[in-house]
Symmetry: C2
């Protein structure tokens, strides 16, 4: 039985969206849950859900709100008290040492003690990483854990690694990110020989900053271990010609948030244009189902959360603004990651069988 | 009289689109032109234009093709022979030293000798930068020239600097980029006290890699000289809450190309969806004018090209895929930059009056 521990207090919409998403996942997929947080808040949310049901809707104003009735008493949901919460502004390293009874530290602890098998967290990314690294430890041979985010492309899913865990990297760190990303693409998406590319400012060898040039060489020397296909520029991310894109966490995070920003601006512009005049308004009504289909294809909520790779356990890091729908999908991501044996595969690269 | 020199041989669509764009600018704005390249090719294009007219259309399949008749003999167009061309794959530093008669080197030389006042180039960015730096020299006090690209936002234009000239940067370089970007926003867009932000992975001070942390401090210490408003994340680029975003050329280039990639994917998806079924096809026809308006707002061709700031002269660097329309606008950008006295303003920051 695979149980997923969830930091019920983390995220902009916590505890409401988190508890709803967890209940939804438990109900829809039958995945056992452990909610970690202030028991009073958790109980209150569960009571509310028993009365009102859960808002089982996809985010975005394009979609109608739908309510599903639930009896949470019939679901396999453990509740664990955590008296403290790490806030977004706090320095992660300090906070996890000081707040030993915080929801994120105790959620990770649930995995350490074997009460749960994976953690889902939508609060401070730094705190989730720190707690995981501190509580679970690194996989043997791994220099630094990295965050692997899944992006939609014109063809299939793409793993972007590192998307924010490490700002200052070395070539050997980036090489390991490539290996871990490759194992991710294989274990989770079933891609046989994942194509790994280095995010760079030109396609030719010799392009880029010092880090990129050195990393290129390292990948090139290790082509027996990894299907390295060379450099990829930002505009190629979405063509679907590679399965894994490697970069340092600074570039990865800027890239990820830029993508979010562009998509948001375009949807904003489309909406604005449909209020332009009466004709546009009428067309706007007709165009709604088309926009919905596109929204679903690029909606980050579909992937739920990003995996922290390189630690001895499964931690799924969610967007701070996660909706219940995103949390539901993140629980599924965590569950699938546990089942995939991804960490065993990573460990076996470094001699652990 | 301000004359603009153009590398007629640079770019994916050269010499055709380049010559057409130059002729178009000369005709529409009355800006005198100097076409630099293989005379045989230039003459052939001009003859063709005299017979067929120019394809005066905005790029993108959403727009109809329109032809305008021109008699190039009546326009103020100088032609300068350049027997060599620097190709995209060549190492820029080596190429500009070896090919002294290349179109880009001679186009820059036209500014050096006073035959022209600015250069427009759509070929190898590295070669255009190298030729400008070598031929024109740096402005006094400037460590490294940087590329300033203009992006559309939800509110107004935004200057992204550096968008690709310098891959490995120091805090003092980034600080200068901020100063130059600020002067750009003021000189060209008339923004009185441009808001300058540092591209980073979080808003709080202390976020980011070592470079970002040190640069933040430097900006903060110099608030008397620059309207530094703090860090900006990738998702904030398009909100229009700042006028200048500073980053190193690696991050800037990845960001720029990512934006291009996302926009392309979304337009691709929108198109695909309108072929989904008969109903969608009909809606697609109705929606065309709306998509056109959005396309125009985000079309990179509107801004024509990016300015290389920090050299003693005006160099406008265009997208390799530039259409005639983009080149026409780039000529206008170059012309306006000359008229704005932007270099005098930058130089005066460092004591030159």
């Amino acid at each position: 039985m695979t149980r997923i521990a969830i930091d019920a207090m983390g995220g902009d919409n916590a505890p409401r969206a988190i508890v709803e998403g967890a209940v939804w996942a438990c109900m829809e997929y039958g995945i056992p849950i452990e909610l970690v947080g202030k028991l009073y808040d958790i109980e209150r949310e569960l009571d509310r859900i028993d009365q009102e049901g859960i808002v089982a809707s996809i985010g975005g104003s394009l979609f109608p709100t739908k309510r599903i009735k639930v009896n949470t008493k019939t679901l396999d949901i453990k509740k664990t008290q955590a008296s403290e919460v790490i806030e977004m502004g706090e320095a992660p390293g300090q906070a996890i040492r000081k707040k030993k009874n915080s929801s994120i530290v105790l959620a990770v602890n649930a995995v350490v003690t074997g009460s749960a098998d994976a953690v889902v967290a939508a609060g401070s990314t730094g705190a989730a990483m720190g707690a995981s690294l501190f509580g679970l430890g690194r996989l043997r041979g791994i220099e630094r854990p990295a965050i692997a985010t899944v992006l939609p492309t014109m063809k299939g899913p793409l793993v972007l690694i590192d998307s924010g865990a490490n700002t200052d990297c070395t070539p050997s760190m980036l090489y390991q990110f490539g290996l871990m990303g490759s194992i991710y693409a294989k274990s989770i998406f079933g891609i046989e020989n994942p194509r790994v590319a280095l995010l760079n400012i030109g396609e030719e060898e010799g392009k880029g900053d010092e880090l990129a040039k050195e990393t290129y060489k390292l990948f090139d020397e290790n082509k027996d271990n990894i299907n390295f296909i060379g450099n990829a520029e930002g505009k190629e991310i979405f063509l679907g010609n590679c399965d894994v894109i490697v970069c340092d966490g600074f570039v990865g995070n800027v890239t990820l948030k830029t993508i979010e920003g562009v998509a948001k601006m375009l949807f904003y512009m489309i909406k604005q244009e449909f209020y332009h005049d009466l004709f546009s308004k009428i067309v706007g009504l007709l165009v709604k189902p088309v926009l919905k289909r596109i929204y679903l294809k690029i909606n980050y909520e579909e992937f739920g959360g990003a995996l922290l790779l390189g630690v001895k356990g499964i931690t799924v890091i969610c967007h701070g603004r996660s909706s219940a729908y995103a949390i539901k999908n993140a629980v599924k991501v965590a569950y699938n990651a546990v089942k995939s044996g991804i960490n065993e595969s990573i460990a076996s690269c470094y001699g652990e069988k």
